[in-house]
Symmetry: none
Subunit: 197 residues, 4 copies
Amino acid sequence: MSRKTKQERRRELLDAARDAFVVKGFAAATVDDIVANADVARGTFYLYFSDKRAVFEALVDEFLARIEACVKSIDLSHPDPPVVQLNANIRRIVELALAEPAIVKLALHDATGLDPELDEKLHGFYEGLRDLIDESLGQGQALGMVRAGDRRVMVAIGLGGLKEVLVDAVAGHVERDANAITEEIMRFLAGGLLARG
Amino acid sequence: MSRKTKQERRRELLDAARDAFVVKGFAAATVDDIVANADVARGTFYLYFSDKRAVFEALVDEFLARIEACVKSIDLSHPDPPVVQLNANIRRIVELALAEPAIVKLALHDATGLDPELDEKLHGFYEGLRDLIDESLGQGQALGMVRAGDRRVMVAIGLGGLKEVLVDAVAGHVERDANAITEEIMRFLAGGLLARG
Amino acid sequence: MSRKTKQERRRELLDAARDAFVVKGFAAATVDDIVANADVARGTFYLYFSDKRAVFEALVDEFLARIEACVKSIDLSHPDPPVVQLNANIRRIVELALAEPAIVKLALHDATGLDPELDEKLHGFYEGLRDLIDESLGQGQALGMVRAGDRRVMVAIGLGGLKEVLVDAVAGHVERDANAITEEIMRFLAGGLLARG
Amino acid sequence: MSRKTKQERRRELLDAARDAFVVKGFAAATVDDIVANADVARGTFYLYFSDKRAVFEALVDEFLARIEACVKSIDLSHPDPPVVQLNANIRRIVELALAEPAIVKLALHDATGLDPELDEKLHGFYEGLRDLIDESLGQGQALGMVRAGDRRVMVAIGLGGLKEVLVDAVAGHVERDANAITEEIMRFLAGGLLARG
DNA sequence: CATGAATGAGTTTTCATTCAT
DNA sequence: TATGAATGAAAACTCATTCAT
């Protein structure tokens, strides 16, 4: 029977760490929790990660990469109209969140105030996301597809709204159907909450 | 020179704790940091709070109470029309957030996953807020003032958007003018992001 | 309404301390427990006793004095025969123990290993008691009233037996009638446990 | 050179704790004292015992088990007559006590009032012992080998006397020869202290 | 005399990390 | 590679004692 490869062990440890962090949060989860989940000895952990922060960072990196993969720049020369492309972006993010609930809780909730380096990383990610959306909104405004307004505030509301919906969906506070959620988000973006007078 | 009253001392410790938490985050801040900020001995802390969690909880309690005080139920028999009342609610919250940037960061950002009891408290607070807004939306829908849609999702987007704007405002990512922010939020609620086709 | 005298306050503190020590033992009882029992402020305690050890010492002193008062040297010229005098000594001790159960637990059980000074005191008391009994036994042996044997062992057995009976009586493990207990002790001293062959 | 086994390390810590307790008493001895005696790091202690109370309890458990092993029920069908069997029981206990002076001091002297659980354990042990002796005395009375009397008091005196002799022997107050001590105890049981009139 | 807030030394306890096997 | 016993720095927490009022 063949030994596990390095990659498999690393994967197991990542998953074990993810579970531990989701249950107890980064600060309260111990390396002991992680190795217990992974069913390996304490020392083994340090063969794969330099320290506790490193696993967390690896997990966040992984998640950010997967989110980034969901977001495709709106391309005006694309056969689909921009609204459809936006819709597809949002649906991919919602689907990812519903498929990996643990990691949503982790990266969107728990990841701040741990240590400066990590905060930096998450902050950078959000900043990148904000810039991306900001830019798109600017493009949209130029084309008359997005209404006028303070774009940073518009971005914040949009991003915050999306985050909250995902967290709530994962927590079961709102329904867990990707299409329905995406639809509702689109309606919000298209028309706000209030009825047209 | 008169000794400080218990209330004053408690206030000092609360402020000292808030500063420590803001600088280092809840997990990394130590009771030592707090008492150093407050310029009292280690033991003094424990005369006022049972442990680190307790001060944090007190800070969050205080803040949540102040937010609650900002929100007044929409009253249809009020001389001001509902939209104006909504606007006033939002402005009060935005003003509070801008006045207490440190606590916003703490309560809206750091406060999850620390310990079950605190999570419960925050959860209860948000649940209450969600119910209140949900109900108001229902009323609005019945009166034709709010468009149709899945109210839980609508609430989540609205609440999340608001939270993010506040945190971003506090962090300096968006402009820090209460009126401007309120206006922008109202525009989002009234018409979403996209231009009318 | 007249203030309490120093003596009254001191008495209250002694009683409060006795209760605290009986409930929690010397080490676990805090000065807080004592002043709470006495219903005075923390600082007041130190107006009457130099420290925690001092109250305990005062309590033990008091108790030892009362025990010593129970024990009267056997006097051959006394109208009562020696056995009757012994009986009276024992009954007085048993009565004291039943009247002051708390203090039995304290001085006979809890008082060792606290600090060298206290150990010294108790040790000295026991040594004195042992010497007293040893001497009496020697006298008795010389007069043919006490059988031959290693007096130190005889003393130890007698003293240990008495202590245990008192502790058990106080704890309710044996009956709590002073006369019956005294009788039974006398029978033990007079004839051991085994029936005459 | 091979690492120590868990059992060896545990043994070292038990011995180190015993020494610390004997020197300073349970209350005054610190975990630091224990690990210093054992020459291990502070944390190591907690790999083997949950806290100071736990080591003490383990020490007491061990000793109680060994005492229990000394006591064999009197068997009337045994070739040795009951008195000889009793004598053997007592000698075994005395020998154990002389062999383990440190633990005698701990278990018979220091062990009460530390914490409820331990008190319970000791209480249970003594209760068991008391019941055993009580029963044997009852048997003896039925057979006319033990004189009449309140058995609970008889047990208390006998047990207390034995305890005190052991503690005194260990402390050097009485001679330390197992046979001589056993003899003297037997004489006490057989005939009390007073000479036959 | 009495108060009780404040002190800070002394302990306990945890846990990330190392390293001999 | 893997193990898990050992480490010890870092925190948390307690409580006898002091002292300004």
